[in-house]
């Protein structure tokens, strides 16, 4: 598969009578977008705001972040099987409004959504302080269940991002990157001396609103499988997650997975990136055993030399991570795992719920229990009602002066296990 991705740099979002992309400015007619969102009979009202980098704005509770993209050429269109027709994506041409994001806000679970600060110390912990955000706050109709509300917000957010993405279809991109993902046989012939490296991406699928969708399929119902990384760039994997904000992968993370980007960067130079495997994180022990068996079987079958495994979330998925690592190592394949830590506020507790001596190469995305005080910001988009209940918050989190003391767990993307963050160690 070959995908050409054209990046159109967005330097501001402004409301206007006519939606368009001109000279790097994304103009949006929010009335049109409102009508699009309210096509869903579950939603009562929708409210739009723009949040720019550096503005004194706190956005919470954040559900998902989506990058506006649309296909220019090639079979299918972005977010296949969910808001566009089912078709194999990942080839042809795709345009991206880079620097822009749709941020969906709503109190679905309340305590399992996140915080995005556009200024102050909190801004350094989330990548979405650096994007121009169209924030969409959804109010559900009365009596809606959490599951119906989540599904409605998820689809409305995607529809808005797709509508914005389509504005870029006829715009000349500022930069074009080509990603080629040949068949395994071709790849091995092309780079015979280079180590064959695969990527195993674990997807949150615990149910109870901790879900990820692949071509519209709830990943908990799938066995471990393979796809081209270019399909993921076209929105084949979507977040339906209401879970701790720091280490869930938003849809934006999937669209811009840095593990995939870096493997492509090294492809043909230091390694041969020839397998993309996705697996789930289910709540039955038998599922964990079966899925990790399958992961190891595929790695063995493909005769890979090395594998990178990224986790999503924490707690019992630590067991899926360790099972994947251990079983893949037992096929004589080297592994490196990417995870984050819950090592307590003082950093001295055991970081993962599970462990194994075979997990001897690990990249950490940081300690999610680290406590931070976020200063009062001038404006709040959404509500602070859930600040003390949010995962990472506690009774007393919200100070009288408007500042918030929370674990960085509450900040969207702060310890992202794809490495899509700015945390580093000295």
């Amino acid at each position: 598969m070959k995908l050409e991705v054209g990046y159109i740099q967005i330097r501001d979002i402004q409301t206007a009578d006519k939606s368009s992309v001109k000279d790097g400015i994304l103009y949006v007619n929010t009335k049109e977008l409102e009508a699009l969102a309210l096509e869903d009979e579950h939603l009562k009202a929708v409210c739009f705001d723009v949040a720019r980098p550096g503005e004194s704005i706190r956005i919470t509770p954040v559900k998902d972040v989506i990058e506006p993209r649309a296909k220019v050429e090639g079979p299918g269109d972005v977010f296949p099987g969910v808001i566009t027709k089912l078709n194999t994506v990942g080839s042809g041409k795709t345009h991206v409004l880079q620097g822009a994001a749709v941020v969906t806000v709503g109190k679905i679970v309340g305590f399992q959504e996140g915080i995005v600060d556009m200024a102050g110390i909190g801004a350094e912990y989330t990548p979405f302080s650096a994007t121009y955000n169209l924030v969409v706050d959804f109010t559900p109709k009365d009596g809606l269940t959490a599951h119906e509300y989540e599904a409605a917000i998820r689809k409305a957010g995607l529809k808005i991002a797709y509508a914005l993405g389509k504005l870029g279809v006829n715009v000349t991109p500022d930069e074009v990157k080509t990603y080629e993902y040949p068949s395994i046989m071709e790849a091995i012939k092309k780079y015979p001396g280079l180590p064959r490296v695969g990527y195993v991406q674990m997807l949150q699928s615990q149910g109870l609103l901790h879900d990820t969708y692949v071509y519209g399929v709830d990943m908990k119902q799938s066995l471990t499988t393979m796809l081209s990384p270019t399909e993921i760039m076209d929105g084949a994997i979507l977040s339906g997650n209401c879970v701790s904000a720091c280490d869930k992968n938003t849809t934006y993370h999937h669209q811009n997975n840095p593990v995939i980007e870096d493997l492509f960067e090294e492809h043909g130079k230091t390694l041969n990136f020839c397998a993309m495997i996705i697996t789930n994180e289910n709540v039955y022990l038998a599922d964990k055993e079966r899925s990790s068996d399958w992961t190891a079987k595929l790695v063995d079958y493909l005769d890979l030399d090395g594998v990178i495994i990224s986790q999503e979330g924490f707690g019992n998925p630590d067991t899926d991570l360790i099972m994947n690592c251990k079983k893949i190592e037992e096929t004589d394949t080297h592994t490196v795992i990417i995870t984050d830590e819950y090592a307590g506020r003082d950093g001295t507790s055991q970081s993962l719920a599970d462990a194994d001596p075979k997990a001897d190469a690990l990249v950490t995305a940081g300690n999610a229990n680290q406590v931070i005080t976020l200063p009062k910001l001038d404006r709040v988009i959404g509500t602070l009602d859930y600040t003390e209940k949010i995962a990472g918050g506690y009774a007393g989190s919200l100070e009288k002066d408007g500042s918030i003391t929370v674990e960085i767990q509450a900040i969207t993307g702060s310890t992202n296990e794809l490495g899509f963050s700015r945390l580093s160690a000295r």
Partner: protein
């Protein structure tokens, strides 16, 4: 909690879904549970079948509690 109670000299059975974590943290008597969101039951069963399932888990745990072990042992629910 399992380890601290055992340290005080009282045997403990850890009923849990993810038995590998129980092994990692060092429980001695382990009984596998159903699933993380509903460890001690299964909402997809009829109430009568679920009651039977619950009873099986409990009797397995009680049997485990009164069984001498040499090391970490998983007692499967039959």
């Amino acid at each position: 909690m399992v380890k601290e109670i055992e340290r005080a000299g009282i045997p403990v059975v850890h009923v849990c879904t993810v038995t590998p974590i129980s092994m990692t943290v060092g429980a001695n008597r382990i009984v596998p549970a159903i699933a993380i969101p509903h460890p001690l039951g299964n909402p997809s069963l009829t109430p009568a079948d679920e009651k039977q399932l619950r009873r099986k888990i409990l009797t397995t745990a009680l049997d485990a509690l009164s069984t001498e072990v040499d090391g970490q042992t998983i007692f499967e629910v039959k």
